[in-house]
């Protein structure tokens, strides 16, 4: 790693002051930052250690869940309120990474984690995200793990966070403190597609610090599902994943929430699918399949990842069934 200064602010205000400097990076759990500093995919001259700020803790008031940004993944996954009412959030966490990493990594850090695209991670490949304007080696290269949705000429890197997928399905909000004050964003729109500026991944501004994530009630949340498909049985990023919750009115779907991972440049809310599922019987396989397929209408397969359309469609169907209490 290149040398850096490690500074430890006492409060949030001081943290934001330090964090707004050029080449300053916030450090919470460090599992992403330390790794990418070593490979050279990220650079920083100052690491602002925010880990001792009072941003931990999980609050559930019966309606809304509020999660301090420094809460560890393992803590959030173990929280009874989360396991009971936002089951797919707990599942998305426990299917991520390894137990050790979940003990180290913060919620805020997880949401801001960088892509696993191999052309991003290894220096000296053409990568517009790492080095704007240098090109995208993945488009014409090995792209089996890359995005079929939300990509652009400049970048097709898949978003890596499982938790973000479940939170986006849950209409979560992210709360930030920054140089311009406090602000809140729907998590779904906090993430940006690469378009022509893949180095800009979220709406976060220089110095902005995520302080909390809040989640409204999720209909069907107690039975919601995070389906994660990967070749290794554990400890691998998703090939395709689906966060699904289904609220039933008898045998009919009253409301479905569906978000996708492993297929897009940001956690992908499948709103077209959700709309088509309204009022549909859970066992109506034909409609389920059509609704699922509609999520991929705008998919742009690359050389190696076209199978994700079919796999993704099947995964949505299976996740919806499971979330509805069916097999």
């Amino acid at each position: 790693m290149q040398p850096f200064e490690l500074v430890t602010p006492v409060g949030i205000t001081e943290a934001v002051e330090l964090g707004r400097a050029v080449d300053a990076v916030y450090l919470a759990g460090g599992t992403n930052v330390v790794d990418f500093l070593r490979t050279g995919a990220m650079r920083a001259s100052t690491l602002v250690d925010i880990d001792r700020l009072p941003l931990r803790g999980i609050d559930f008031d019966g309606q809304r869940l509020r999660i301090g940004a420094l809460t560890r993944m393992s803590e959030l996954a173990a929280e009874p309120a989360v396991r009971d009412r936002y089951k797919f959030i707990a599942e998305s966490l426990e299917l991520s990474a390894s137990a050790q990493l979940r003990n180290m990594a913060s919620i805020g850090g997880n949401l801001l984690q960088r892509t696993r695209c191999l052309y991003f991670r290894e220096r000296n490949f053409k990568c517009n995200k790492r080095t704007p304007g240098s090109g995208c080696a993945a488009r014409d290269g090995e792209n089996r793990r890359h995005a079929i949705l939300g990509g652009s000429e400049a970048c097709v890197a898949t978003h890596a966070s499982d938790l973000a997928v479940a939170l986006v399905a849950a209409d979560a909000e992210v709360h930030l403190h920054g140089p311009s004050g406090e602000w809140t964003s729907l998590l779904e729109t906090f993430y940006l597609e690469p378009e022509s500026t893949p180095e800009i991944e979220t709406r976060i501004g220089r110095g902005d610090l995520i302080v909390a994530v809040s989640v409204p009630p999720v209909p069907g949340g107690e039975r919601s599902v995070y389906l994660k498909l990967r070749e290794r049985a554990s400890y691998e990023f998703a090939l395709v994943s689906v966060a699904a919750s289904v609220d039933l009115d008898g045998a009919l779907i009253r409301e479905a929430r569906i978000a996708l991972g492993g297929v897009a440049t940001r956690p992908w809310r499948a709103r077209e699918t959700e709309a088509r599922l309204q009022g549909v019987a859970l066992d109506d396989s034909g409609v389920l399949r059509e609704a699922a397929a509609s999520a991929f209408v705008d998919a742009r397969p690359l050389r190696d990842n076209g199978f994700k359309v079919e796999l993704g469609t099947r995964a949505i169907v299976a996740a919806v069934r499971q979330a509805g209490g069916g097999a």
Binding site: L118, E122, L229, R314
Partner: protein, 747 residues
Amino acid sequence: MTDLVGDPRNRIDAPTKVTGDARYSADIALEGMAHAVFAVSTIAAGRIERVDVTEAEQSAGVVAVFTHETMPRLARPPAFEFPNIGTNFAFLQDDRILYAGQPVAMIVAETCEQAAAAADRVQIDYAAEAPLATLADAETGARDLQLLYGVLPAAYARGDIDEGLRQAEVRVSERYSFPAHRHHPIELSSTTAVWDGSQVTVYETTQGISMIQFNLCNLLDLDPENVRVVSRFVGGAFGAKGTFWFHTAFTVLVARELARPVKLVITRDQMTTTTGYREEQRQELTVGATRDGKLTAIRHHKLGATSMVDDFTEGSCTATTLLYACDNLDTGYRIAPTNAMMPNFMRGVGQSSGLFALESALDELALQLGLDPIEIRLRNHADVDPRSGAPWTSKSLKECYARGAEMIGWHERGPAIGSMREDGWLIGYGMGTALHPVPPRERTEVRLRLHTSGFVRVECGGQDIGTGTYTVAALVVADVLGIPIEAVDVELGDTDLPRTGNSVGATSAASISSAAHVAGMGLIDRLSALAIADPRSPLHEAEPELLSASGGRLVHRDGRADPFGEIIRRRQLMTLDVMSEWDPASGVAAAARVARRIPVGQGSSFSYGAWFAVVAVHPDFGLVRVRRLAGAFAAGRILNEKTAASQMRGGAIMGIGQALIEATSTDRQTARILNPGLNEYLVPAHADVPLIDVAFIEELDENINVLGVKGIGELPVSGVAPAIANAVHHATGRRIRDLPIRPEMLL
């Protein structure tokens, strides 16, 4: 032999490993030690035009930076000589770039963090050329391979292949492919070199300390008396540490140049391009048979990607030449130079890739003929070595099939494709044959030192790479001397100790156990002589043939006894040393007490096995999980059932990796490896591995060595991948011939 040998024994080195006390090669901190790291090339073909180390040299803590311009010269250029020297190309000696990830500088600093940061600051201007990345890019440049491993004739044929194909009433003709695989032992390769005058001690994690010593002397013009290599514990190897690599030589040279100890650690990413690998390969296989399933012809040709300057490919067709009785056979190899590092052997060398093709094809044949997969193999069982007609010194493959079938419940298998389900998953059963040659043994020396306390120390220069060598040496000596294993202490891994061979190709257990056995017998002879000549001994003037070792004593048939420790203490000796040299040739002759069926050197010796797999395939997602795995093996005498069973499981897990998970991914534009580290080159994790059931069919084979040990290290890797692929077919009707099996192939 007593019951001691064969029964499950705990690894004697286990306690030191579970406490973290065991010191591996990089677990060393010496006074004044500097840390070294490589900077590696980002291009795969071309030349270094200009290298600027100014910024690197000025970085904090940096002691020195060596490039191809400033690295001391090797005394002579390397010449490929398997398995010792892996390649004809030594990096850091000229401006050539032959592969991405090739070391182009060595940076030495006070801390490893400083060395790594400085490595990033070495500036290199390359004159890059278009590289050849994969087999697909390179195959037009393929040529025939003349020699396998530089010594064996590569092509082999018998009978008349065209006639054999004409006689065939059914035929399978397919292409099978393997991607490149990496060994990725969890311990990183490293060298720590410390000079003392003209003597150097080298702490190297290796499968062959003698090999390291020899090659250092040869390449650096050093005297063996001045070179000591130490490797007490090796954190896994699988072939990656079985060849001499140049990081060892350069660390030794740099330590001498800087006059301080230097520790170089290869990073995880760098392991991928500095310690060899199994090459990307394609096999064209045609098998023909009669309607009864009798093979009439096999044609097996392999194309392997090699480096630009080395003719290396693993012997994937060897198993085909001898596994089945088939009169008409044609095998051969072609190699295609690519801009990749020189491949080398990886556990299950040759057999695991070749048997994937052959055992898949046999299954396809069985299906066409409506025969049970085991049945078709039995019908083609080779009762003698089909290459020569020579008898097998021992072969229990049929018993392996039967036992394995019983273990997995083969009869529960409904033969119809896709006919079995469990929890909504499709279930499939498959099997595959495993085999490995019994390799030639190396001359091995062992020293035993008996103490007056009755404790015995065993010293031999070999190494334990996890196979259980420490334990094998201890229990053989304990058994011969009739003492408890707790009274035996083993020292390995130091060239100052008596010379032993490398831990490659499954040779260690047999060599060391044979030598230990002979040494033990030698110690008994010495003790007998001492006791018989000593008027104060109860055994004074006894007949030596009536004496045996039992319970730490020399015992006469009539009950008189003299404890070992007493025998030597009476002679005013605190210790008694016996040095024993075991020569493979004489070792066999030493077993001449037992009548031999086959004259020395006239039989063929192989170890065999059969793997049986039950897989579950998700009907919607194409995910494959191994539900159960069972294997039966016949490998002569099994010295320690506990550690041997672990070996088999470990090999099986590599087979699971081959079938379902592992593949090196290379960017075709740049010929750079995209997944050099363990985050991206996936190997089987806990969740991928079911309970693996293992059984041994014991064989008494007095023709191979005095204990009849065949060696098992490589055997279990073969047969697993075809068992899984065959099981996938049974579950889904999809025949996958390109590994690893991916979900999209089964959608």
